[in-house]
């Protein structure tokens, strides 16, 4: 009888111990833990042959713009307090990796186009016309071309996404598609103080470059 009681007590203690150890985990607790950084690139492109890059002074805001824009018109830009952080983070990461920034009219090897959007559904496509105001040699019939890889289709909650597209202007083919040789997409909830959002932008842009070692010279 004594042995039976001990057995039951042991089983109960074991069960309680397992229960305490095993409470279900239910995912992120903080907004920065919802940030996701996705990158992809064209494996056939030799990044070793490129050294110069160009970057605009603004981050475009992708919304419901219709194209073509009137001559002299520009699309909406995101607020400088966020745009400047995106641009300076891109520039510092590129510079640290041995790239040299040049003017867009100085025949850069690559051109990085930063865009931001707030969306419920996001396909990694936005109208090429958003960059007609700035891209050297712009032709309205151009489109995007992702050689050797496909950007994903994404559905999610209302969230903010920053898309960086590294384009190769010399690779524009007869079909008028501009090759995007590297893509980074950063997604997260647009919540929190300005400072905390700026910090999250900085960290996630850094992460996009960290997980893309092929960009280092």
């Amino acid at each position: 009888m004594m042995k039976t009681v001990n057995l039951i007590r042991l089983c109960c203690m074991l069960s309680i111990g397992l229960l305490m150890y095993s409470c279900a985990e239910d995912g992120p607790d903080y907004v920065d833990e919802l940030d996701v950084v996705y990158t992809n690139y064209n494996d056939d492109f030799d990044f070793g042959t490129t050294t110069t890059y160009s970057l605009p002074d603004n981050v475009i805001k992708v919304d419901d713009e219709t194209f073509p824009l009137d001559d002299g018109d520009e699309p909406d830009f995101i607020d400088d307090e966020y745009g400047d952080v995106i641009l300076s983070s891109i520039a510092s990461n590129m510079d640290e990796r041995g790239w040299q920034r040049v003017d867009k009219d100085s025949n850069p090897d690559v051109i990085i186009l930063p865009a931001a959007m707030s969306t419920l559904n996001l396909y990694y496509y936005y109208d090429w016309g958003y960059w007609g105001w700035w891209y050297p040699g712009y032709f309205p019939g151009w489109g995007w071309w992702y050689p050797g890889y496909y950007p994903p289709f994404i559905t999610g909650y209302r969230s903010g996404t920053v898309v960086l597209q590294m384009t190769h202007p010399d690779g524009i083919g007869l079909d008028d598609n501009i090759p995007v040789i590297w893509t980074a997409s950063i997604n997260g909830l647009f919540e929190g103080s300005t400072t905390s959002i700026q910090e999250r932008i900085r960290n996630t842009v850094d992460q996009a470059f960290t997980q893309s070692p092929y960009l280092t010279k």
């Binding site: 996701v36 996705y38 997604n187």
Partner: protein, 189 residues
Amino acid sequence: MVSLSLTAQSIQMKSIASINYSVGVPTGNLNDFISRVSGSGFSLDYKRMVAPNIYLGGELGYNYFSEEKGYNTYTEGTASVSGFQTRYNASIPMTITADYVFTDNSKIKPYVGLGIGTIYNNREVDLGLFASTVDTWFFTIKPEAGIIYNLNSYTGIKFSSRYYQTFDSKDLDGYSYLAFDIGFVFMTF
């Protein structure tokens, strides 16, 4: 002799029902996916005597596994994605069971059994705001061993261990886990 045999049979339990709290321990490739022990589970079972010491019945269970994998970078081909990943696996086993109860007359009744049936499985991987979900049905076999401890003639406490082995489905590879149950037993004679 005849009378003794009749006496022995007459006190055999006609049916056994139990409601159990279930702790799941992932093994095999489920352990690779989620290594955390799960305290979120239960099972219900009912069985009827079909021959001396032999019971046939059914079991419905639920075991919910989850694990936060933290912030990591995952690379496949040319694509890399970084984020805070959480993994979930919900298993709902439904099996037909056959059990052999060794002794009917003592306060402690050990038993062994085998179940065959299906597991409805929902697996989800969350990364940031994005989720990837796979629903599938597995064929499963489930050996089980346990004891029933009588509190009185009609109720008792049950301790059991079950091992669920599933087989590859078209959506997911088969996996396995152990379930340790503790529950209340109701018996009829």
